[in-house]
Amino acid sequence: MIAWMAASARGVMQRQRPADRPLLEAHDLNVHINGRSIVSGVDLAIFPGQITTLIGPNGAGKTTLVRALLGLIPVRSGKVIRASSLSIGYMPQRLRIDTIVPLSVKRFLTLNNRASLTDARRALAEVGAAHVERAPVQVISGGEFQRVLLARALLRRPEMLVLDEPAQGVDEAGQGELYKLIARLRALYGCAVLMISQDLHLVMEAADSVVCLNHHVCCTGKPEAVSRHPEYRKLFGAVRPRGLAVYTHHHDHAHNLHGGVVPLDGDAAHGDGDDVAAR
């Protein structure tokens, strides 16, 4: 009873946050790992109730950026500002629980939160994994475990859900369904979502804004705008050559083969509205 009241009190609290004030912000964030710059000059803001999707090629620093935002790894310079007493539900990219730990799904869900068994069952049902409640966490499939992780993140009544490639290990048909589920959960819980994805086209309808990352922020905006963006097309165009829309965009840099930033000379930088393809 007390747990329920505390939970609902928090529910009220999170609705009181002003929608125009970000829950989490990054300013000029630089992260180095083993002396190598992985994330550089990233500015980012996550607003209440918004779904922000981080896309980018393999090794673009997406997971590193998220881990820095969560305070799991130190930043080299720049700032991460979190709203006071921000509650975060985190779903890591890879979580393997050793079979030596005897742990049922039910127990895993209610560990370290004040959720009752009823809450846990409801959360499991919401993510469509009610049938694994009594199973040991190690025997369920990868897709089921992803859903269990999502349920566990939800049980913390988060204001912000952070999902690192939630569709990993889920087949193509299931992926679309999973993103729809995430959008539905956002509507249900009113929480902001920050998620990493490899594929913009799958997350299109689920995202309010997309940040395309390749060590630095290449482009950002609504999913449709980003998919037409030359930077996006340069990173992903070879993989999915579709949507030859006309783009007019201002560029101040290009990329070399390693994804590094190559400054353009003044003229090209300011006059490249319609000749990006020629470069």
């Binding site: 969560l70 050793d98 742990l103 127990r107 560990l111 370290n112 939160n113 049938h131 694994v132 025997v139």
Partner: protein, 279 residues
């Protein structure tokens, strides 16, 4: 004649009772702590602390302080040193443990030679002498053991969270560093307490064998900890009586009994999860 026999009998009863009281107490505490050592793959850490306790004994003698206190201090110092070195991440943990374990053991063996006049019963410390437990030892065993048991209960939930996934625990606000250090110190307490009973070389066995035995029969972390305490106690009682029966050394007999229990439970078919029948 009859008088002498009775006196011998009661003397026998006394030291057997003391040995049982101390041995079972240690086994009960070793259950939950040993479970965590097994879950977190820290078996070698237990060994390292045990190896360094010989240095504690020697220092205790040189400084004129009690052996128990000296062993506890050295174990705690080694645990903290390890925690600091681990954070630096220059050398892999297993290498660090190897360096600490063998340096401390070698240092202990070297230091013994400087304690002229000390007739150290090296065998007694290496293999334990549970039958030589005195009335003065019992308060130490119960005090230290009780403290360790209360300690592990106090940090049970955060420690379990961080055992499952350290990063998830950190995002959820578990003070990971402090909980890890607390667990290391609790292991140090158990080793200082258990040293007299099974000896430096066999302490890790009393921590991990009962826990590993319990795994096949347990469905939850708590069940595993309780069953580990039970199997540990059975090993102490069985080993002690085997030792009296066949005049074998007590410490090794306890470990052999624990190993026999492990083999026996491995012959029992393990719990298997059968998914609920889907309609």
């Amino acid at each position: 004649m009859r008088h002498t026999a009775m006196a011998t009998m009661s003397l026998l009863d006394d030291f057997i009772l003391r040995a049982l009281a101390a041995g079972v107490a240690v086994a009960v505490v070793a259950g939950p702590l040993g479970s965590f050592i097994v879950w977190r793959r820290m078996a070698y850490f237990g060994d390292t602390l045990a190896h360094s306790s010989l240095l504690g004994i020697t220092l205790g003698f040189l400084l004129g302080i009690g052996f128990n206190l000296a062993v506890l201090t050295v174990c705690a110092a080694v645990a903290l040193l390890l925690a600091v070195l681990q954070r630096q991440r220059r050398v892999a943990t297993d290498t660090l443990l190897g360096i600490l374990a063998h340096s401390a053991l070698a240092l202990g063996l070297v230091a013994v030679t400087f304690t002229s006049g000390l007739r150290l019963d090296l065998m007694g410390y290496l293999f334990g002498d549970i039958l030589a437990i005195t009335d003065r030892d019992l308060p130490w065993v119960y005090g230290g053991g009780g403290l360790a048991l209360l300690g592990i209960m106090a940090i049970w939930r955060p420690l379990l969270c961080l055992t499952i996934d350290e990063e998830l625990a950190r995002v959820e606000g578990v003070p990971v560093v402090w909980v890890s250090i607390a667990q290391m110190l609790l292991v140090a307490v158990v080793i200082a307490v258990a040293m007299k009973i099974v000896g430096i070389l066999l302490i890790t066995a009393l921590l991990i064998i009962p826990a590993a035995t319990a795994r096949r029969l347990a469905a939850s972390p708590e069940q595993m900890a309780l069953l580990a305490s039970l199997f540990g106690s059975m090993a102490v009682v069985g080993g002690l009586f085997a030792s009296l029966q066949w005049d074998t050394p007590a410490g090794p007999s306890i470990v052999v009994t624990a190993a026999a229990l492990f083999i026996a439970t491995n012959c029992v078919p393990s719990r298997t999860y059968r998914p609920a029948h889907m309609p």
